[in-house]
Amino acid sequence: MSGAGELLDLSLTELSAALAARRVSSRQATEAALARIEATDARVGAFLAVTAERARARASEADERAARGARLGPLDGVPLAVKDLFLTRGAPTTAGSRILEGFVSPYDATVVERLEAAGAVLVGKLNLDEFAMGSSNENSAFKPCRNPWDLGRTPGGSSGGSAAALAARQAYGTLGTDTGGSIREPAAFCGVVGVKPTYGRVSRYGVVAFASSLDQPGPLGRTVADAAALLQVIAGRDDRDMTSSTRPVDDYGAALEQGARGLTVGVPRAWLAEGVEAGVAQRVKEALAVYERLGAKLVDVELPHTKYGIAAYYLIAPAEASSNLARYDGVRFGLRRGAPDGLKAMYAETRQAGFGAEPKRRIMLGTYALSAGYYDAYYLRAQKVRTLLRRDFERAFERCDVIAGPVTPAVAFRLGEKLQDPLAMYLEDVFTVTCNLAALPGLSVPCGLHPRERLPVGLQLIGRPFDEATLLRAARALEREQGPLPAPGGLEARG
């Protein structure tokens, strides 16, 4: 098994090079990934569906292309997996909800089409919080997902499976979505790289919608180069998503190794002042010191309106969700209940039976915030906060190239720890929501293990609109200096 183990420890970029050199086949890598999922996923819970036969067929096709010297590119033959929020014709899409249990979409999401056109081998659909609502994957209607670093802890959410599958070496790259931190937080908790691109950088066509002005699909990888390779393939204008930008896609690999010298890093000191656990703050400060040592300049920046971020987010996101989730009514797809009792009964009973507690909570909150008499006081006002946040960041970016700080207030918490009070869970997002609200790119890159708890800590980098290249460059500079995190040990012992 050690041969397969070493194969699974390769980064996506390393595997791609090995496939190109024909030192290994896509079939081998795919079989290793499938075997790993089989051996570990009963404990991890990262996958809601495994598409083994389809994956094997696509792996064989990739090997056939490689034999002809006709490889499609860096992702050809590489086993990947995607959050179960991306529509796929070859597997059900549940959005982590009973209301879509068994639903098979008649079309693929644009990002899925792009990955498959690049030759990627999709091995399955990944666990998530229901309709992307949550920060721990505990809101999945099917099963929780566990953190491979400590199976009693959350991998984060809502893209919990996307981060856990990487940490567990079940796939070489994954896609998630980020509306208020749902890529960056699980990436931080699981010790992997997670990128939320600028709103409009990646197409949302075929992505089950949560909050349409905040949602953004993005890549997760065990290394910065892996995340960059995935972003390169999925980014870019899609005529089927009118909110996707026509701005040309940068070459994310080109600047990756430029290092941190000459970069100015903005530090919002208020973010490190209080409310951040001491071990997390220590690792974040050490990362900032690394940047200085590497030749970057540190400047203090003020983002005075970020303290309103959670309040604004938890009005706007539920408001938009209440509209997006209106389509789950038993008419065209998914669960249907109550039809014999009439149309209204069908709507009510379908949604009562199909939605979990958190979607219901947010639909009610959002509907209220948008209702006549409250729209101006709540939704409109929160939309104004977004403008103020955008201005805070614009002012800061006059003096720096990237902004650095924590991703989360603490390391991964225990399953069940924050379920008593939904608001306690919402506070996990305090550092991440501002990116989505201000429509900026952000990423999480590992910056070490917590000194006592030995769990991953993530550094958040936030950039100017469409400047993912600088974020990736800065993240890579830190990664190169620190070296990779060790693999989480817990799964091996019970192998």
Partner: protein
Amino acid sequence: GVEPMTHALAEAGATPLRPDEVRPSLPPEEAVRAAPAREGTFFKVPRIIE
């Protein structure tokens, strides 16, 4: 006064509208395939008008 951020994309003109031309899209048979109840290419629902 502060303007609400009604468009998350700051760039004007970054998302041009396409000409209003009919393009191939999902065939009706495909669109109703996942329906809990259907009749031909129609979604079947309980009576709407009492």
